[in-house]
C-alpha cells in the first residue's frame, strides 16, 4: 500500500512510500529513522497523535517531527 511519509528532521521532506499491509507507525519509524528513538519525535498520522502500534492504512499521511530543534541567534 502507498502512504505519504513526511520527515521534518533536517531539511524536511515529503515522499510517497510503498509499505506492506499491517505496517505499524513504530515499525515505519524504525525503518526510516533506524538510529532514532520514537520518544524523541512527535509522530502524527493524518495530523493526529497515535500510539506506536497504530496500523497504517492505504493513503495515510505520517509525519515525524523532532521534539527538540535548536534555534540560533543570528
Amino acid at each position: 500500500m502507498r502512504i505519504l511519509f513526511i520527515n521534518n528532521f533536517g531539511s524536511g521532506f515529503a515522499d510517497h512510500l510503498e509499505v506492506p499491509e499491517g505496517t505499524t507507525a513504530e515499525k515505519l519509524f524504525l525503518e526510516q529513522i533506524p538510529h532514532g528513538s520514537p520518544r524523541d519525535y512527535l509522530i502524527r498520522v493524518n495530523r493526529l497523535p497515535v500510539s506506536a502500534g497504530q496500523v497504517l492504512c492505504e493513503g495515510d499521511r505520517i509525519t515525524i517531527t523532532p521534539t527538540k530543534i535548536e534555534g540560533a541567534s543570528s
Binding site: N8, G12, A14, K68, G71, A72
Partner: protein, 353 residues
C-alpha cells in the same frame, strides 16, 4: 456549515491564494534583453559593413555575433531551468487539505485564530519553560499575504518574561518577535513551500520548546542578570559592578579598587604596583624614571620608585666610604646613577636625582 468552520474554510482559501502567489512568483526572473540587444546591434553593423564592402570588418563582426548569440542561448537555457523548477515543485494543497490542517492544528494547540484584518493565522503554544525559567505561552502569527517573504511569521510572547539585559529578547532564540530558526530553517522553508501548515506550526513550537546554549541572543544562565564581562557569571542588579575604565558590567569578584583613588576597575583596566603589589588605575599609576616599572604614587618619590632610590642611596654610601679609604685603596669609580629617561622626567616634572 457552522460559523467556526466557515471561518476556517475562508482562511484556508486565503492561505491557498498566498501559496499560489508564492509558487508563481516569477518576478525575480529576467529575460536576456541586454544580450539580445547586443545581437541586434551587431547584426545591424554586419549589414552596414557588407553594404560598404568592408569584408574584413564584416567577418570580424560575424564572430562577435556568434559569441553573443551563444551568450543569449546560455541565458535562455538557464531561464528555462528556473521556470521548470517552479513547475516541478510539489502541487499546492487544495483548500480542503489546508482546512484539514487547520482542524489538525486545533486538536494540537486548541483554538486557531483567523485574524482577517491583519491577514494572519494565529496559533498559541502551551506554556514554555526552559531550564526552570518560565517564558509563558507564545503566539505564532503567520501572515498569509507574506508567504512569499521571509520571515512570513512573528512570534509574540503572550506573558512575556524577557531577558533582564534586553527586553526585546523574549526567548533565547526570539528577538523583536522574530525567531532565529537555526537547525529548523530548512524544514520550516520546506513546510511553507509545500503548504504543510500543521508541520510549520509544529516545527516553530518545537523550536520554542528547545534551548540551544551557546547560540542564544541571551543565555538562560544570564536571563535574570547580566553576564560578567570577565568570567561570564550572571550578576543581578544588586551585585552588578561597572568598571570605571571600560564601563562594562562585572561581577564583584572580577573588580579591583585603585589603592590611590578608590575607584573600581576591572582587572583589564587596572595595574599592579611593582613595589607594594597594590592595585593602581591608569590615572593614578606612574612609571619609575629609572627602572620603568609601574608603581603607585605611594611608592614613588620625585619620579623614582623606592626600590631604585634605596639602591641609589646604597651606592652613594659605598662611594662615600671608598673616599675615606687610605691612598691607593680608594675606589676611583663614580657612584653609579640610576639610568633616568630624560624625556620621562621632563614630562613628569621635577626629578632631583
Amino acid at each position: 456549515m457552522k460559523q467556526r468552520s466557515r471561518s476556517l474554510f475562508r482562511a484556508a482559501s486565503r492561505i491557498r491564494a498566498g501559496l499560489v502567489r508564492r509558487r508563481h512568483d516569477l518576478t525575480s526572473l529576467l529575460l536576456p534583453e541586454r544580450q539580445w540587444a547586443d545581437c541586434v546591434r551587431t547584426l545591424s553593423q554586419i549589414q552596414r559593413a557588407t553594404r560598404q564592402g568592408w569584408q574584413r570588418a564584416a567577418a570580424q563582426l560575424q564572430q562577435d555575433l556568434v559569441r553573443e548569440v551563444d551568450t543569449c542561448r546560455t541565458y535562455l537555457h538557464q531561464l528555462s531551468l528556473e521556470i521548470q523548477k517552479f513547475a516541478k515543485a510539489a502541487t499546492i494543497p487544495s483548500e480542503s487539505d489546508i482546512y484539514r490542517d487547520l482542524l489538525g492544528l486545533e486538536s494540537e494547540f486548541g483554538e486557531v485564530e483567523c485574524d482577517f484584518d491583519n491577514t494572519e493565522l494565529c496559533v498559541t503554544t502551551p506554556d514554555v519553560t526552559l531550564e526552570g525559567i518560565h517564558l509563558g505561552p507564545f503566539q505564532i502569527r503567520l501572515d498569509w499575504c507574506r508567504l512569499d517573504q521571509s520571515p512570513a511569521y512573528r512570534v509574540i510572547a503572550l506573558d512575556a518574561n524577557p531577558a533582564e539585559s534586553d527586553e526585546s529578547v523574549t526567548h533565547p532564540h526570539v528577538n523583536d518577535d522574530t525567531l532565529c530558526e537555526g537547525d529548523g530553517r530548512l524544514a520550516l522553508r520546506s513546510a511553507i513551500d509545500d503548504g504543510r501548515l500543521g508541520d510549520f506550526f509544529l516545527l516553530v513550537w518545537r523550536l520554542l520548546d528547545t534551548n540551544a546554549p551557546g547560540r542564544a541572543y541571551v543565555e538562560l544562565s544570564n536571563w535574570h542578570g547580566s553576564p560578567c564581562h570577565e568570567c561570564g557569571a550572571s550578576t543581578d542588579e544588586d551585585d552588578r559592578c561597572f568598571c570605571s575604565g571600560c564601563d562594562e558590567v562585572y561581577c564583584p569578584g572580577c573588580m579591583c579598587s585603585c589603592a590611590d583613588c578608590d575607584r573600581d576597575f576591572c582587572v583589564g583596566c587596572i595595574s599592579t604596583c611593582a613595589i607594594c603589589d597594590s592595585h593602581v588605575c591608569d590615572g593614578c599609576r606612574d612609571d619609575c624614571a629609572a627602572c620603568r616599572e609601574i608603581v603607585c604614587p605611594s611608592c614613588l618619590t620625585d619620579g623614582i620608585c623606592t626600590r631604585c632610590r634605596d639602591k641609589q642611596e646604597e651606592e652613594e654610601q659605598d662611594h662615600e666610604e671608598s673616599q675615606h679609604l687610605p691612598a691607593g685603596q680608594a675606589d676611583t669609580t663614580k657612584p653609579s646613577q640610576p639610568v633616568v629617561d630624560a624625556d620621562h622626567v621632563a614630562k613628569k616634572g621635577a626629578c632631583h636625582v
